[in-house]
């Protein structure tokens, strides 16, 4: 059987599986944001960076190869991941104590997991108005990390193409595919897959807010690294403990 060596541990894999998939199947956590087991890998956030045979690569996109030696949970890699998180934090407005996604947010959960204690960089404080036009769903662009999960879900699962990224570099941002730019003017629905996949607090069911107490939410109950098994059912909705 073909195996990779992940932090010295032999892991079997099937042909075509990525390093991420091989690790997940074995219940081993590799930090990630833009990866979702139900979608084609995208490789944009770089949180899943590992060292394979001495080279930095994205675990979510690189196919496993027999005998590959992969370094994952090391101080060097976790330092780099923490820096990526810090950049994501300052680039948007992520104020956890008053964010309704707190406890269900992957960005926050990873910051805890990787022991990010300060934002380190200077805050951008972008001013991005929310889109509250849709009767059931609110979009708070201030927290978008551009993972494109909603883009992929709407296009590939819902067949609607409601979301897209626009602009380049520092100006890259999420847009709604409607002439008005408003979610209300699309055929988006709360039942869409795209309404369930946002790893952070952008796509939110309205009027729920803090109905589930902080402390009883997904990552309050168990750290993200312990929830590898649950990854396929990840949703944006609050979950009871």
């Amino acid at each position: 059987m073909k195996t990779i060596l992940l932090d010295g541990l032999p892991l079997p894999f099937a042909d075509g599986q990525t390093i991420m998939e091989a690790a997940t199947e074995a219940g081993i956590f590799i930090p990630h944001l833009c990866h979702h087991p139900e979608f084609k890998p995208q490789g944009s956030c770089k949180l899943c960076t590992v060292k394979a045979n001495g080279r930095y690569v994205s675990a979510c996109t690189l196919p496993a190869k027999d005998g590959m030696e992969v370094e994952n949970n090391s101080p060097d890699l976790n330092d780099k991941r923490r820096t990526l998180l810090q950049m994501l934090f300052v680039e948007g407005n992520h104020f956890c104590p008053s964010c309704e996604k707190s406890g269900n947010c992957m960005l926050q959960a990873l910051a805890y997991e990787l022991e990010m204690l300060t934002p380190h960089f200077e805050q951008f404080y972008p001013d991005r108005p929310v889109d509250a036009s849709h009767p059931e769903v609110l979009l708070d662009f201030n927290r978008c990390i551009l993972c494109e999960l909603c883009v992929r879900a709407s296009r590939d699962v819902d067949g609607k193409n409601v979301f897209a990224l626009s602009g380049r570099g520092i100006r890259k941002h999420l847009i709604v595919n409607a002439e008005s730019g408003r979610l209300a003017d699309t055929d988006f629905s709360l039942a869409d897959k795209a309404a369930q996949v946002c790893p952070v607090g952008v796509i939110l069911q309205k009027r729920k807010g803090f109905a589930i107490p902080i402390g009883r939410r997904r990552y309050d109950v168990e750290p993200i690294a312990m929830q590898v098994e649950c990854a396929p059912s990840r949703t944006s909705g609050e979950q009871e403990s």
Partner: protein
Amino acid sequence: MQSAPFELETAAAGVPGLRRVAIDPVSRVEGHGKVTLLLDEHDRVQQVRLHIVEFRGFEKFIQGRPYWEVPVMVQRLCGICPVSHHLAAAKALDHVVGVDRLTASAEKLRRLMHYGQILQSHALHFFHLASPDLLFGFASDAGRRNIVGIAAAYPEVAKQGVLLRRFGQEVIRLTAGKRVHGTGAIPGGVNRAVSRAERDVLLGDIYQIVAWSRQAVHLVKRLHAADPALYDGFGTFRSNLLSLVGADGKLDFYDGRLRARDADGRLLVDEFPVRDYQELISEEVKAWSYMKFPFLTALGPQEGWYKVGPLARVQNCDSIATPLAEAERREFIDYGQGTLIHAPLAYHWARMIELLHTAETIKDLLHDDDLSTGELVHSGKRHHSGVGVIEAPRGTLIHHYRVDDDDLVTMCNLIVSTTHNNQPMNEAIRRVARRYLDGRQLSEGLLNHVEVAIRAFDPCLSCATHALGRMPLQIELLDAAGQVIDRLSSPA
């Protein structure tokens, strides 16, 4: 003399011939203040200006945010009484989601949270901040005038203060989810109950808490009895009173209607619905202050200003629903011999009567099974605006929001407790400064006395809650030409 009670400083800014004395509390964070004393040509204190920098950005900041976020977001306003803001916002938004009456469980859980907050706040204020002044004397060694000094000289008092506060914080944690930035209250109700086991833990301590609260009232009474001239006369001025009053005229911190009395205790307004607060209260803006000056519209700015907080509440209500606090209230009212008590130092006495009432109320609530079972949230027909009023530890707190069809906040208006007490604090400082400012010389004594007067009102200046209870001050004495002729700082 009829006009004396409402005598106000009238000199306009920059009046020639007035000297200026500036007292700067050097604060660690925002919530920063300064006191300016303006002298006339006879070196008499003519004007007082208490400058407080409030965090006013919130009303703009919350515009365009979804309404359900507000009760949590609003706690960023003030690190000192976040629970009061949390609940006042939730109360306002109850109306937005069409809930005029909470479920029994939700109301009791919110009440428990609120009374826990008042208990911890009153304990912090009295034991950590005020008791060093009161027990050691205003002019005693500054290095000793803090909770550490109290712990050395009166270990039992210090211990009770610390444990009372801790109990209040525990009540908050169990109802709000966290000690700070809790999320327990949501529009239309609450998101958590308190389990039987959690209640049992609190019940294990509550009888001790009631007993200590009672001792705290007795301690304040002994202080009054030991020096009535000081306690009755220090910074004393007459004014109207305003507070919420609950059903049947009972003292109520969580809900009720507005009542105001004049300085002689006659009712000015009663059973006034909170949603119409804008008809009752106006706010005057003065060029020299960031903080507005509220007054009862019908009486105008000169005569309509009022005190809020413990001294107002305990004398505004007709009775207190819990027996020990009611007995203390009666004794307090009797002390006034048929007239209202206006002495700033009597705030401490009234505050400890309230402490006792919160302890007794928490005891009663903890026996109530509604805390652990029953519906927690309601909803109804949506409205576009809501007003929530609560009696925060420091006094009446008003939150008012408008929300559009898309669920976003379009307008927010807040009147916070310390703002209601703006004119009263200025007035108390003026009385004290007149009494203790000696000629053109600044003294430690003056500094200490001004500090004690401000503190009686428990304003939410972060400098007033300096960890060790000291409010570091700087005084500058300026002549009419703006020249500094004297300067004095207290040790930080």
